[in-house]
Symmetry: C2
Subunit: 235 residues, 2 copies
DNA sequence: GCTGCAAGAATGTGATCACATTTACGACGC
DNA sequence: GCGTCGTAAATGTGATCACATTCTTGCAGC
């Protein structure tokens, strides 16, 4: 059993019927769990998945697994082989180049939209980001790659969700889903200790309501992250 | 029967089993037809759809229709209401703003990637674009809104596919799927005769291998298209 | 005309099944 | 060890069904 499979299996089987309020659809929960696992780098590029293996792991029928797979494929996180097998998206240098460029085009612009709120909302956001960043720093110290990836994506998505820009957010989610397997390779090769980020600079810019500085922090953060991926030598 | 439904119904029921080479999956064909209809503005924002109505229209079972719906929802073209009904994505001024900004961020950069080929490939692309643009101009003269939308999207996607940048292309496809229903409102209100574009400038820039001019043409094309949408008064 | 209610129809969802194709594995021969 | 073949298992796919929830429509009362 692989690490990725073990991590998925630590979650209990999905509760199917709550009967109190409207339950989250099973396929949505399968999607969210898979999304998280992919963004966190729990799957290596090219790894095979199947409808039935996912259904078994999550303790559900094939239908919700199919729907989750279809969604993730639409977002570029999963690919169908020419013989119709499902795999985690594969990586290449050209794809990394595209992901980097597209992220640089979208994420700073998205982030500054989070500055439109009042000072109190910005301060609340900043405090939340500081909390997440502290957990991230601890994960780095422990060399805990799973928590590193978890809190890094939480930091970014907390900020991007605060921007209240659903079109942008959908695009960025797709980019992160495609980048996740790259991150798995990075962390496997360089560990967590050499990973740097610009989260503190971002928090400072948010507190100051400074769009130019926030864009710069996000841009630098992306560049550094992508440099790590490129350095890990994909071939 | 609405216009949109009639247009879908003019297509024959999907051929299910070719038996010669590997058939295109039924769900993929449903997806492609729906994608085209949405990008072409054949559905008004907020229009209800259902798995069974689509299945009936395409002459297939519910499964391929479900999968197509799931894919399109992941790309933002369809939405689920709080009571789990499926609708075409609704529009708003804020969403239009986001779409415009994201398109400006991505499409010029994508287009210039198509200039990386050799001169012969660029000339071939330019010739193909000229052919499509001629069909587009005829559609404008005839006031044929369906052909207008069809050839306009064909022009753009022919260019963007030539860029050989699948990550970018997936993002842009999502943006066009979300913009399509806006275009339906525009064409309904202002007709085709006042629609202008920068396609000839784009073709000139492609022939010259001039990235700066191509970016500018695409940028201006997007701005003009989006100005039309804004002018059509969404509220 | 408006409101509330009941009944029937419509709907998304999850389960299950069968089919065509692909993959995995063991046996055999070189 | 490698290649080939046959068999069984795995896989994505489309079909069908049933269930819980929502929507629509007709009717009655005010």
């Amino acid at each position: 059993m692989t690490l990725a499979k073990a991590m998925l299996m630590t979650a209990p089987a999905i509760q199917k019927k709550a009967r109190t309020t409207r339950p989250v659809a099973v396929h949505e929960e399968v999607y969210q769990r898979l999304r998280h696992a992919i963004i966190s780098g729990q799957f290596e590029p090219g790894r095979s998945l199947s409808v039935r293996s996912l259904a078994a792991e999550f303790g559900v029928s094939a239908m919700p697994a199919r729907e989750a797979i279809r969604q993730l494929a639409a977002l570029g996180a999963l690919e169908f082989t020419p013989t119709r097998r499902v795999t985690i998206a594969r990586m290449s240098k050209s794809k990394l180049d595209e992901l980097c460029e597209a992220r640089l085009a979208l994420e700073p612009a998205l982030a500054v939209r989070a500055l439109k709120g009042k000072g109190a909302a910005r301060e609340k956001l900043a405090a939340e980001l500081v909390r997440i960043d502290a957990l991230l720093d601890e994960a780095i110290k422990r060399g805990d790659s799973a928590d590193y990836a978890k809190f890094n994506s939480e930091f970014h998505f907390k900020l991007y969700e605060a921007a209240n820009a659903p079109v942008y957010l959908g695009l960025v989610e797709s980019l992160w889903l495609q980048t996740g397997p790259f991150m798995r390779v990075v962390i496997g090769r360089v560990g967590t200790s050499s990973l740097v980020d610009q989260h503190q600079e971002a928090v400072r810019a948010i507190r100051a309501g400074n769009a130019v500085k926030l864009e710069a922090a996000i841009r630098d953060d992306i560049k550094e992250g992508m440099t790590n991926i490129a350095r890990a030598d994909l071939s």
